[in-house]
Symmetry: C2
């Protein structure tokens, strides 16, 4: 069966985003640009980690990661990523509001799942075949999967910034032992990989 | 002038201790033994980081790091470390209650400071001369120094465990950019070093 992985860029104090997400500020208030500088300013140095993020056969994300709106869908909204999103695979979006499948260019199709994380994971596993299923975020969604013990490998990309508030990784996750797989420092980030369990 | 450094072993979710510290459980509830396994089970692999922790010319710690009691002093309490504490240098303990200096074996003397972090830092700098002043913890004390911008180099030793509650590093520290100095993975810990500022 395919593995379930999760990637998340976080601050040194564990926040994946600041508070108050809006259309203009997808990552909310605070110096959140610092979280992703490693991806855009030093791509060659971090090629392996960048490639791994989009290497899965299917993705799962929370609604807030797909867009800033809440409640009933604005059907004009097609995600933050333009017409050719970087996933190139099925993406299952957790939501309480039904919406038809949304095929994009490059092989990405957004599917909207109203049955919670179990249904999303079931459908993503079917779509991924032998490839990994990736939990793409945000923190609330990743924490739901962590709390349910459904993530096999967690890859944190820790940026040297303190955000002080926002959406925190591990919030609501009960005490547990992880296993450190690897850690690597690059100029603007520390990549830390954990496996579930002792 | 001497640098101010701080070392702290923390969980993957940033806790330096669980809740409910007692005499029997100095690090509180939860799987807190996991935080310090790297020190005791793989000392050779982490020799440089271990040596750096006690290399300072003077130390500052919070009262809760010195002992479990609160309020007026129990003069029979001489710290958690036995008669020869690992500091071998002056240690300034932040407290609201005066107490006479407490000389121990091996060059450690505990001094009790009622004037807050500024007085403690002034006295520690005088004692350290050209050597570093080390903020030894716990998290509340380190956070006071971080919030005041008084720490030059922060060395986190991140253990692969989730605690879920307790005393968290960076709590109450306002948003700010750090600089990543280095990161190294060992079997049971990731050592991450940050310098203050961009």
């Amino acid at each position: 069966m395919s593995r379930v992985t999760a990637d998340m860029s976080v601050s040194a104090d564990g926040f994946a985003a600041g508070p108050h997400q809006t259309l203009e500020k997808p990552f909310g208030d605070g110096p959140t640009d610092e979280l992703h500088r490693w991806m855009f300013e030093t791509p060659e140095e971090n090629r392996a980690e960048r490639d791994a993020i989009t290497d899965a056969g299917a993705f799962i994300m929370g609604r807030n990661m797909f867009g800033p709106s809440r409640g009933e869908w604005d059907l004009d909204w097609r995600g933050w990523w333009g017409e050719d999103p970087p996933y190139h695979a099925p993406v299952f979006v957790l939501t309480h509001h039904e919406r038809d499948d949304l095929p994009m260019a490059g092989g990405t199709t957004f599917h909207f799942v109203t049955g919670g994380i179990d249904e999303a994971l079931k459908r993503a596993r079917e779509a991924a075949g032998s490839r990994d299923v990736s939990i793409a975020g945000g923190a609330a969604t990743t924490n739901q999967f962590l709390a349910a013990g459904l993530i096999d490998e967690l890859r944190l990309h820790v940026a040297p910034v303190v955000l002080g508030a926002g959406e925190r990784i591990f919030d609501g996750v009960s005490p547990r032992t992880l296993t450190l797989v690897s850690s690597r420092a690059a100029s603007l980030v520390t990549h830390v990989v954990y496996r579930a369990g002792a």
